[in-house]
């Protein structure tokens, strides 16, 4: 088998790492952030689409000069996207990366670089 084939190594170290409390914690932290935020932004985006289609009276309300709620709602989609992205990056480097690095080091110590 040449190295062109990419597949699992079957190395026992993975099962050991999988069983560690650090890995369980890393997985818990990752899922606790990624899943709810994915659900939240999808719901927020769907709400925007549905309201643009079927709540036009509300969306057409003018707020400031020619700027209406529809435009503000659309711009808020940009704001929420940027905000979630920044929040995730900060959260990940503080809460995921140290654990991942530690587990990665254990792997390297076991298998060699």
């Amino acid at each position: 088998m040449s190295e062109t084939t990419h597949r699992r190594s079957g190395h026992a170290v993975y099962n050991d790492l999988h069983a560690t409390p650090e890995f369980r914690e890393l997985r818990k932290r990752y899922r606790a952030f990624a899943f709810p935020f994915t659900a939240a932004f999808l719901a927020w985006y769907l709400l925007y689409i549905l309201m643009s289609n079927w709540a036009t009276d509300f969306m057409n309300t003018k707020v400031l000069g020619n700027i209406n709620i529809a435009l503000i709602f659309g711009l808020l989609q940009f704001v929420s996207t940027f905000a979630i992205a920044i929040l995730y990056a900060r959260h990940a480097s503080r809460r995921f990366d140290p654990l991942a690095a530690e587990l990665n080091d254990r792997y390297d110590a076991e298998v060699g670089k």
Partner: protein
């Protein structure tokens, strides 16, 4: 000097610079990791630029600003799905894929499944999505270059397709991922720079007052208040409203399943860099769509968008270039000619970069998944594999050229949306299941890919975009792919996503629960550890 001559000179400059970069990159490309993944040596920022370069096609640059110029708010509504979608890539896909895959989308599935069936399935959907996208870009390129250079001769337009096709084959065959990535980076810088310039000029005209710009746009459009409100394009009927929801779903869920985007995550050394690249991409793409909002409303405010205007005749595609000309002093002025030529060259660079990324991705999948793993069963050398990838690039490029030439006369604008729908229905379900569902197995993977692929394509085939939409009352051209006299449509929506995405997920579930595959299940622990920690994933290639 006329604007056309100036445009040609700038086109030449774009070609010269990108060809130079490609030749330079080829000197640093030797093995498969270089050819497929650019040696995994790009920084997060560089890859973020390249992702933006791959993603912001001429359809988004010219198409979205054009849609805003013609339909006002609804054009903006359309652009939002393209941005929001990146959160799926950031939160669920980029880092995990970087850690658990290698060169292609299929790698990540093959890691714990039976190699040949999943690689064949993933390669099929990679090639189908890429060819659809490619075809739309190439046909768009010939129409666009024709418009920008004022060419109406059919032979010359065909020549444009052939030239664009040959250039893209050259980038991919000679430069591999390294060359293609640098082409994307150059294009992204040009596109952001050009768009920023025009945006600032538009805003300056209105004293940096957004409300004033909107007011002028709605007044000049002749559509009044409605121009600033949702509904002008998508709110025509209940069917068109549901159609838009369906499109929105495909955009949001399809982006993170586009093969040419997925392979970009392999070009960086670590998962952290993959995260950084998506962050940069979100910043750049978001800023870009905010600027197209100004461009679109600026075009509506400053240009003639009446029934027989140039903007309407081009379907909105010329809104940005003509806006640039108007801002420079109008037709015939030197300033106008310079700005028009500049924006045209930016559009041209955009097209070249996107088609190169698509060709590289499908050639990689054919060589790595089909040739090396399915046919040669992992016995081929790296050298053979790179050679196979180069041959595949020639073949795929050739097929794209051959299909694009007759497609020029057909209405194929639906192909980009279809590519997103297939990516969302066939690719995303298998990726998400594979990363997060222990029981997911080979049959589940192949069923979700083939099931999602088939359902989106069958639904589109029997939809109004293929037949039965009638004809354009002015030009008499068919609004569907087939001539207006043919009608075999029964599916009312133009976008299949709302049905085909749930079907893709359903088939993946069904295939999984109807078969047992203990190997895949056992291997899930390894995949999970590797995807979350990066343990055992490949780093930078050093020569």
């Amino acid at each position: 000097m006329s604007s056309h001559a100036l445009t040609l000179i700038l086109f030449g400059a774009v070609v010269g610079v990108t060809v130079g970069i490609t030749i330079w990159a080829s000197r640093q490309t030797s093995g498969t990791a270089d050819y497929y993944a650019g040696g995994r040596s790009f920084s997060g920022f560089q890859n973020g630029l390249a992702i933006s370069g791959d993603y912001m096609s001429a359809a988004s640059f010219l198409g979205i600003s054009g849609a805003i110029a013609l339909y006002g708010y609804d054009g903006f509504l359309y652009s939002i799905g393209f941005l929001v979608a990146w959160l799926i890539a950031l939160l669920l896909i980029a880092e995990l894929l970087r850690n658990s895959g290698r060169y292609t989308m299929a790698d990540q599935l093959a890691y714990r499944m039976r190699q040949r069936p999943v690689r064949t399935a993933a390669a099929t959907s990679t090639v189908v999505v890429s060819i659809f996208y490619l075809l739309a870009q190439m046909v768009g390129a010939s129409a666009l270059v024709g418009l920008l250079l004022g060419v109406t001769n059919e032979g010359l337009k065909t020549l444009v397709i052939v030239a664009v096709g040959l250039l893209m084959i050259f980038y991919v065959v000679v430069g591999g991922m390294k060359g293609t990535t640098w082409v994307q980076i150059v294009k992204a810088v040009l596109l952001m720079g050009g768009t920023l310039l025009i945006t600032v000029m538009v805003l300056a005209k209105f004293g940096f007052n957004l409300s004033e710009l909107l007011g002028a746009a709605s007044q000049n459009s002749g559509k009044g208040e409605g121009f600033l409100q949702p509904g002008l394009k998508y709110g025509v009927s209940t069917t068109s409203q549901i159609d838009f929801v369906s499109l929105g779903l495909a955009l949001v869920l399809g982006t993170a399943g586009l093969p040419h985007i997925l392979v970009r995550f392999y070009t960086v050394p670590t998962a952290r860099d993959a995260r950084k690249s998506v962050l940069w991409a979100i910043g750049l793409i978001g800023t870009f769509y905010l600027m197209t909002l100004v461009l679109g409303f600026g075009a509506a405010a400053l240009l003639d968008t009446g029934a027989d205007s140039k903007v309407v005749a081009s379907g909105g595609n010329l809104a940005s270039p003509l806006l640039a000309e108007a801002l420079g002093g109008g037709a015939g002025s030197t300033g106008g000619a310079v700005l028009l030529a500049l924006i045209s060259a930016v559009a041209f660079a955009t097209i070249l970069a996107v088609v190169a990324g698509l060709t590289l991705t499908s050639a990689s999948s054919v060589a790595h998944d089909l040739y090396a793993s399915v046919i040669k069963r992992g016995t081929s050398s790296e050298k053979d594999e790179v050679k196979a990838a180069k041959i595949a690039a020639f073949v795929i490029g050739g097929i794209a050229i051959a299909l694009a030439i007759p497609a020029q006369k057909l209405n194929i604008a639906f192909l980009v949306a279809l590519a997103f729908a297939v990516a969302a229905s066939a690719n995303l379900p298998s990726l998400v299941y594979n990363l997060f569902w222990r029981k997911f197995n080979t049959r589940g993977a192949t069923w979700s890919i083939y099931g999602g692929l088939a359902s989106s394509m069958i639904l589109v085939f029997f939809s109004p975009v293929v037949s039965g939409k009638g004809e354009n009352p002015v030009t008499g051209a068919s609004l569907s792919l087939f001539p207006a006299s043919v009608d075999f449509s029964w599916f009312p929506l133009e976008n299949p996503g709302i049905i085909s995405i749930p079907l893709g997920f359903f088939f993946g579930w069904l295939g999984t629960v109807t078969s047992r595959d203990l190997d895949s299940e056992l291997a899930y622990d390894e995949l999970e550890v590797r995807s979350l920690t990066g343990a055992g994933s490949e780093g930078v290639v050093t020569h």
